[in-house]
């Protein structure tokens, strides 16, 4: 393990076995109002066949990170620093032609809104067949057969006929199934799912989530699952990374992060979310204030203006010094491990019921 001396960077866990390694990633957008630091020193690893859940509110940088992996930002306005290594290959410096070979083949993505992600101009079957033809060089007929096969696999009834339909003829749930078919058509090693069920109804969401899990088992795909819903993440992920204002603030396995969380922001999320079996006598405990603007983020710990535990750290450490996120199970907070444990057990857990 190497330790970075750079102040702003998180310590880098050197993980040779990881399939995807993101190290000290910084993404900055140029805007009229000044630079927006959307991602600020992010590091994580993903193993083959595993699911990493990234949870955070809007503007926390979770989508930006994943668009960066695919190289989908306009280089005119974006500065990317740090390393993204996929299967031994550096992506931040890769040429566009190399990325093109990767997208849809080794790495695929499912977007939030399937209606805008599908082209209204081509049939669903053709859109699914296209990446397959491009990446495998299959014939038109073979690619079409593959598209029909994939549609059947994701549960579109009568796939042979429905492949000839246009996206508007599909319902919302079916469109998202078609997106999943399209993303899995080349057997990708990594699937990035950016809020894939947020636009769907809850009964359809349950179907799609289970389908993704079952397909993952069959194909052995690694998944990065982005969502703001802790319920969905606890259902899907092996590991969780909680993001706030461009930083990862806590990471660990599902069990660790949801059942013994260590960061005040994670406590806040758990406490503010109504659950279907939560105690109704107590009002929800919201996180005070609103997420900060990334144009002018708070100094030190970015969560300190909203944190109710900052005074227990003592001094002005939270305002002046940015807490670092260690490797593996860790949380970026100045509270001592003992404090975190006692606060969670004595003050947070009883509220969760």
């Amino acid at each position: 393990m190497t330790t970075l001396t750079k102040e702003a960077g998180a310590p880098v866990p050197a993980d040779e076995g990881a399939f995807l390694s993101v190290r000290d990633l910084h993404v900055t957008f140029k805007t009229e109002d000044g630079p927006v630091r959307a991602v600020n020193g992010l590091s994580f690893d993903l193993q083959r066949g595993k699911t990493l859940g990234i949870v955070g509110e809007s503007g926390s940088g979770k989508s930006v990170t994943n668009l960066t992996i695919l190289g989908l930002h306009n280089p005119m306005f974006t500065t990317i620093e740090g390393d993204i290594v996929l299967d031994g290959k550096e992506l931040t410096t890769a040429r566009e032609s190399e990325l093109e070979k990767l997208r849809g083949n080794k790495v695929a993505m499912i977007f939030q809104d399937p209606l805008t992600a599908l082209s209204p101009y081509y049939t669903v079957g053709r859109q699914i067949a296209e990446p397959y033809r491009k990446h495998t060089g299959a014939s038109k007929q073979a690619a079409w057969d593959r598209a029909v096969e994939m549609l059947g696999k994701v549960g579109i009834p009568n796939p042979k006929a429905r492949a000839k339909d246009y996206p508007h003829q599909f319902s919302g749930g079916m469109r998202q199934r078609a997106m999943i078919a399209m993303s899995l058509v080349c057997n990708p090693d990594l699937l990035i799912a950016d809020e894939p069920t947020t636009a769907l109804d809850v009964t359809v969401q349950a179907q799609i989530l289970d389908l993704l899990k079952d397909l993952q088992r069959e194909f052995g795909t690694a998944i990065i699952f982005i969502t703001h819903d802790l319920g969905v993440i606890s259902d899907m992920a092996d590991d969780i990374m909680v993001m706030y204002a461009g930083n990862a603030v806590e990471r660990g396995t599902v069990d660790e992060v949801l059942r013994s969380p260590q960061h005040p922001y994670t406590w806040g999320l758990l406490n503010s979310m109504p659950r279907i079996d939560s105690d109704l006598s107590a009002p929800l405990a919201p996180i005070p204030g609103a997420p900060p603007s990334l144009l002018n983020p708070p100094s030190g710990c970015r969560f300190h203006p909203r944190c109710t535990f900052a005074e227990r750290v003592g001094g002005a450490r939270c305002v002046t010094e940015r807490p670092l996120l260690g490797p593996d199970r860790a949380s970026a907070c100045h509270l001592t491990a003992e404090q975190k444990r006692t606060i969670f057990v004595e003050e947070i857990k009883p509220r969760l019921g």
């Binding site: 109804d201 809850v202 349950a206 969905v232 949801l258 999320l269 109504p274 005070p288």
Partner: protein
């Protein structure tokens, strides 16, 4: 942000006692015509958005309306506020029939039924200051509170937890959660008796959602305003509502007190809906595992809804009777008073895990079979 409510002195002692019906909808129906044909366009069909529902909202009660998109819950909200003209049925407000009441007749009632909208970005006029937005309803209704409208607006801003100094700011200067607070302040401006809140928190971030839910709860408790709370998020509705109605394809399929609906549901659709809610298991003991039901496909089109029971095409218990006969919304034996279910073959009143999961989705079933 200020969390204590500073309440204005009550306008008068409320004449109604809680528990009295405030708003009653009977056989409420809304069909949107579909026009087609050439050269003469005529009505070729109808979207049966709301198809004969009965609802009662009592004084000071919060009544939740849940369902998936397209089930008609928002249309119901708009019918009740008379923003849409009902095709059929009756709306009674405090015993007065307002189903087809004209503009003049409605004027005094409009001030008593207010609405909070889903999208805090499009429901506030970007050219008006917060002061103008909130005092708008008072101006229209010619209300001059003692001390002037501006004083009242400042009071309202304080009630909803905003800084009264922000009177002259524009909506774009506020965050999403703060804008929704402005929407709440506007709804409170006329001291309404009933607020129809259509998905008031679904556009907000998780940490902000709780702030607004708490605010609405405080307003409801302390000002005694009745709420019709429309949302798709079952956990939020459970948190906010004393009574809950579940809608499916334009019909109310189950209605009852919160506890009955969430722990002793009888309709298969309510079971499926509850089992589909993703749940954080914070204790990690896996105790009281919930049942798992995965339906197949999506909600059918409301243009040509299934005959009989509308849920039968996705129901695992459907029989011939379900296609022939629409089940009435009645109290099934074993249910509490006021817990009504529209089903010929109701489920057991429990949400515990079954011996065998119900998986109707063919792709899921096939994948799980091969495991």
């Amino acid at each position: 942000m200020k969390e204590d409510l500073v309440l204005p002195a009550p306008r008068e002692a409320t004449p109604e006692s809680p528990g009295e019906p405030l708003l009653v909808a009977e056989n409420l129906t809304k069909h949107f015509p579909i026009k087609g044909g050439f050269p003469i366009r005529r009505t070729v069909g109808a979207v049966q958005a709301v198809d004969g529902i009965d609802l009662t909202v009592h004084v000071g009660e919060s009544f939740g309306l849940v369902g998936e998109s397209g089930c008609g819950k928002s249309t119901t909200g708009r019918l009740i506020t008379r923003l849409l003209e009902p095709t059929d049925g009756k709306i009674l407000y405090r015993g007065q029939d307002i189903t087809h009441a004209g503009r003049k007749q409605l004027a005094p009632i409009r001030s008593e039924i207010q609405m909070i909208f889903q999208d805090p970005y499009s429901s506030l006029n970007p050219r008006q200051t917060v002061g103008t937005i909130i005092s708008g309803p008072m101006e229209i209704n010619g209300i001059n509170p003692p001390g002037g409208r501006e004083k009242r607006v400042r009071e309202l801003l304080e009630i909803v937890g905003l800084n009264p100094e922000h009177y002259n700011r524009f909506p774009h200067e506020f965050s999403g959660g703060q804008r929704q607070r402005i929407g709440v302040a506007r709804a409170l401006a006329l001291e309404p008796k009933l607020i129809v809140a259509d998905e008031p928190v679904s556009a907000l971030d998780v940490s902000i959602q709780a702030q607004v839910v708490n605010l609405l709860q405080k307003v409801q408790d302390e000002l005694g305003i009745a709420f019709l709370f429309i949302a798709h998020d079952l956990a939020v509705v459970r948190h906010f509502s004393q009574r809950v109605a579940v809608m499916y394809l334009g019909k109310v399929i189950e209605v009852g007190d919160r506890e009955s609906i969430y722990t002793r549901p009888r309709h298969p659709y309510t079971h499926a809906l509850l089992s589909a809610v993703p749940e954080v298991d914070v204790t990690g003991d896996g105790e009281g595992r919930r049942e798992r039901i995965r339906l197949a496909g999506d909600v059918p089109s409301p243009i040509a809804p299934p005959s009989g029971c509308r849920f039968r095409t996705r129901c695992w218990k459907a029989q011939d009777k379900c296609a022939a006969e629409a089940p009435p919304l009645v109290q099934i034996s074993g249910n509490r008073d006021g817990h009504l279910t529209a089903c010929h073959f109701p489920e057991e009143p429990t949400i515990e895990a079954r011996e065998e999961d119900i998986v109707l989705d063919p792709a899921l079933a096939a994948l799980e079979e091969s495991d």
